[in-house]
């Protein structure tokens, strides 16, 4: 997401960077570009105005004019403003309360509340080791309660049954009583989607809030939403003491202006973002990372975290030990690595976070990636164990068989073997001390070209 905003700002800022001296006139033209970019990204008009005014004032002010590199100075101002728009610190669910900590969802229809309850429950259970209970107070949408039940079952979190002919207020009272008695750490409450102009329904959620007295009330908003996001956010914020925002469906290509708008209007932090269909695809929101992503500077921190989290440590250690002992990196190890890469969401998800990659055309990313991996994997799968360990034995007729077995061409098999040889060489170099560090530096090199010098934090 944020792709085009980042593309546009990158371009504008590149122009600014090239200029040794900034005049009021070229700042004006840059600001016009920024305004267009923000509007196209669905950032709400009042927010755009505020943003531009702030950046302009500081840009024509002393601090830029006296700077040796005025272009860089403007970039810094834009970045700082973006970060402050999205909230400086990353906040999380508050458990410093008499248990259970009650967390209530609120939002429009189709924003993704029920899915978010499932994802958040899993997140709190796995990352914070909390005992979680979920309940649905959505007695209106057909099968909404059933949906939460299925989700809860899938992530193995307790579900409190409610019925569609019950009064939501009663459900709230009962579940609260139950959660207290059963010593749950957290209670996640799903509510019906409602329009902010529907007085009756807004009244209902206020009453729900009064009964539940949640420690966190989260406004769930679709990242694809347009200008109306401000109206909805304002109305919900006025009706309820919101404590945070959840931004959903960020795996699309929406530029996500809604995130900026909602944050700006409510002043509440964006806590989490939904990043995919699976219940595990849900992460804490990091404003500074998002801002640098918008500016095309990449999101290396998230990448490292993901690598750490998703690589199978045991396998990696085994491989490291093996290599240290002087044994060779085999095709089986290669396959393991391919599988782990896929586990991280494939090449596209990795490239997305690398500096300088924001400038690539939108669909190149997915193309380079994932299909190629699957192909490589299937070629290796079509080999015998002997061939995997001793690739040297693979001759012409074996290649033909492997190509036929994996549905590829002989050229593909050749290419894989060549790549593998290169990998083997690289692994040899890596087997010494500080191997991983070196490899990460190698990864960073992929971003040459668009990468601003010194932006890699290693």
């Amino acid at each position: 997401m944020f792709d085009t905003l980042s593309e546009r700002l990158s371009r504008t800022i590149k122009d600014l960077r090239g200029q040794g001296r900034l005049t009021e006139k070229n700042i004006e033209s840059a600001m016009r570009e920024v305004r267009m970019a923000l509007l196209e990204a669905d950032v709400a008009l009042p927010v755009v105005r505020d943003f531009i005014e702030h950046v302009r004032q500081r840009a024509i002010g002393e601090e830029v004019m006296t700077s040796l590199t005025p272009g860089q100075a403007v970039v810094k101002i834009v970045e700082e403003k973006l970060i402050s728009l999205m909230g400086e610190v990353n906040t999380s669910i508050n458990f410093n309360t008499q248990p259970p900590a009650v967390i209530m969802m609120a939002g429009l229809q189709g924003a993704g509340k029920t899915t978010t309850v499932g994802k958040l429950a899993r997140y709190l259970k796995e990352k914070e080791k909390k005992k979680i209970l979920v309940v649905s107070c959505d007695v209106y949408r057909p099968a909404a309660i059933e949906q939460l039940k299925v989700l809860a079952n899938e992530i193995d979190v307790e579900f409190y049954p409610s019925e569609k002919n019950q009064d939501p207020i009663n459900i709230a009272k009962q579940v609260l009583d139950y959660a207290r008695k059963q010593n749950f750490d957290g209670l996640l409450v799903d509510t019906a989607g409602r329009l902010h102009i529907d007085d009756e329904m807004m009244e209902e959620i206020k009453r729900l809030h009064d009964v539940l007295t949640p420690s966190d009330t989260l406004f769930v908003v679709d990242s694809m939403m347009g200008q109306d996001a401000v109206n909805a956010a304002r109305a919900f914020d006025e009706a309820l003491p919101l404590t945070g925002i959840v931004l959903t469906k960020t795996d699309g290509d929406a530029r996500g202006g809604a995130a900026l708008s909602v944050r700006h209007v409510t002043g509440k932090p964006i806590m989490f973002i939904g990043t995919g269909e699976k219940t595990s695809e849900f992460t804490a929101f990091h404003p500074e990372r998002m801002a640098s992503r918008i500016l095309g500077m990449g999101d290396v921190l998230s990448l490292i975290e993901e690598v750490q989290e998703k690589t199978d440590i045991k396998k990696a250690e085994k491989l490291a030990k093996k290599l240290k002992k002087g044994k060779r990196f085999s095709l089986e190890d290669f396959r393991d690595q391919l599988q782990q890469m896929r586990g991280m969401g494939g090449m596209s998800s990795i490239m997305d976070k690398l500096p300088g990659m924001g400038g690539l055309p939108a669909n190149v990313n997915t193309q380079v990636g994932d299909k190629q991996f699957i192909k490589l994997e299937s070629i290796i799968n079509s080999m015998t164990t002997h061939e995997r360990r001793m690739p040297a034995v693979i001759n012409g007729s074996r290649k033909r068989r492997i190509a036929a077995g994996s549905g590829t061409q002989i050229q593909d098999v050749n290419r894989l073997l060549k790549q593998f040889k290169q990998m083997q060489k690289m692994m040899k170099k890596l087997s010494g001390k500080g191997g991983m560090k070196k490899m990460m530096r190698g990864l960073g090199g992929m971003g040459d070209g668009g990468m601003p010098p010194g932006s890699m934090p290693f």
Binding site: E40, L45, G110, Q147, L195, G226, Q227, D228, K249
Partner: protein, 324 residues
């Protein structure tokens, strides 16, 4: 029937259903009275017809999600009219604005008709991103066609989202129409293929197929959609199929990307704009009309069975510019 929620509004609506156009306005007016007033207000004010006025109008159009392209188009047209001194007072300006905006939407006002000369069933395939309102639209469409005297069947092609099948089955009960469904996780193409057989065997006129919400950027999910599309062709390639993209009126400029991707994947024949009963203005359809020209078939304005109306460009623009 659904008296537990918002009883007054729904009753009021049913009473008003004498004339489809007046009821469309009733549906829209729930919304517009509070928000579309924006543009109308501006026209009421005694402002001078100068650039500040046009700037002001431009902002209001942008806020309505029309996007930069459509907004510029409209402003430019007005600007040249003013230059040529064709506009002397506010009434005339309002009229011109109305004409300009309606002319953008006119080409996409093409109501959905059920072809009589094709073999049955007529297939309506509902697609769209997550949370756009596909399942609800399936329920409302069923009601719409039943009221026109057609026999309808529903196919639960959303086999991914938890309880999506149950949700569609409830809509089936409300409409008293059969629902073909398998278990969660089943192959969506197979479900719809089965439903086609069943619909043909039972002489059903229209099969409305729900599908799972999918983000247009997920290649594998878009491939699945293509597979569904192929499966329908395999059943009988002479079949008339309407691929509908369901679009949330609150969607911003991303709707353009959504429409293009879905159109590239299976070809979109019509758009249904949902959730117009909020403060979202659905201005994105102006941008869509200019960029894609895909017909807008229906608009959705609520959660009840009959909250679905045939799209009419004149009514839509009138409502948009309505005085308070």
């Amino acid at each position: 029937m659904f008296g537990f929620k918002k009883p007054e509004t729904s009753q009021q609506q049913t009473v008003d259903r004498i004339n489809i156009f007046s009821s469309l306005k009733t549906g829209l007016s729930k919304t517009q009275a509070k928000l579309f007033g924006g543009v109308g207000d501006l026209l009421l004010g005694k402002k001078k017809l100068d650039t500040t006025f046009l700037d002001d109008l431009e902002e209001r159009l942008l806020v309505a999600d029309l996007g930069i392209h459509a907004t510029t188009e409209i402003i430019d047209a007005l600007h040249s009219s003013i230059k040529r001194n064709e506009i002397s007072d506010h009434d005339l300006l309002r009229e011109t604005l109305n004409t300009v905006m309606t002319s953008i939407l006119d080409p996409v006002q093409q109501p959905l008709t059920v072809p009589a000369d094709k073999p049955g069933p007529f297939v309506i395939l509902l697609t769209g991103v997550n949370g756009a309102g596909k399942t609800t639209t399936a329920g409302k469409l069923a009601s719409h066609f039943i009221n026109q005297g057609y026999s309808v069947m529903l196919a639960a092609g959303d086999t991914f989202r938890a309880a999506a099948i149950e949700q569609l089955q409830i809509w089936g009960e409300r409409n008293n129409v059969p629902v073909v469904a398998q278990h969660m996780g089943a192959d969506a193409a197979a479900v719809i293929f089965d439903a086609l057989h069943s619909a043909r065997a039972n002489n059903i006129d229209i099969l409305i197929a729900d599908t799972a919400g999918r983000l247009h950027t997920q290649d594998n999910l878009m491939d699945e959609l293509k597979k569904i599309h192929r499966a329908i062709g395999k059943f009988d390639d002479a079949l008339a199929v309407e691929n509908i993209l369901v679009l949330d009126a609150a969607t911003g400029q991303n709707a353009l990307s959504q429409t293009k991707q879905f159109n590239d994947a299976i070809g979109i024949d019509g758009i249904v704009l949902t959730k117009l009963d909020g403060t979202a203005k659905g201005g994105i359809i102006f941008a869509l009309a200019l960029e894609t020209g895909i017909p807008v078939r229906f608009i959705g304005v609520g959660e009840q069975l009959d909250d679905l109306y045939i799209f009419n460009s004149t009514d839509f623009v009138d409502a948009l510019l309505e005085y308070q």
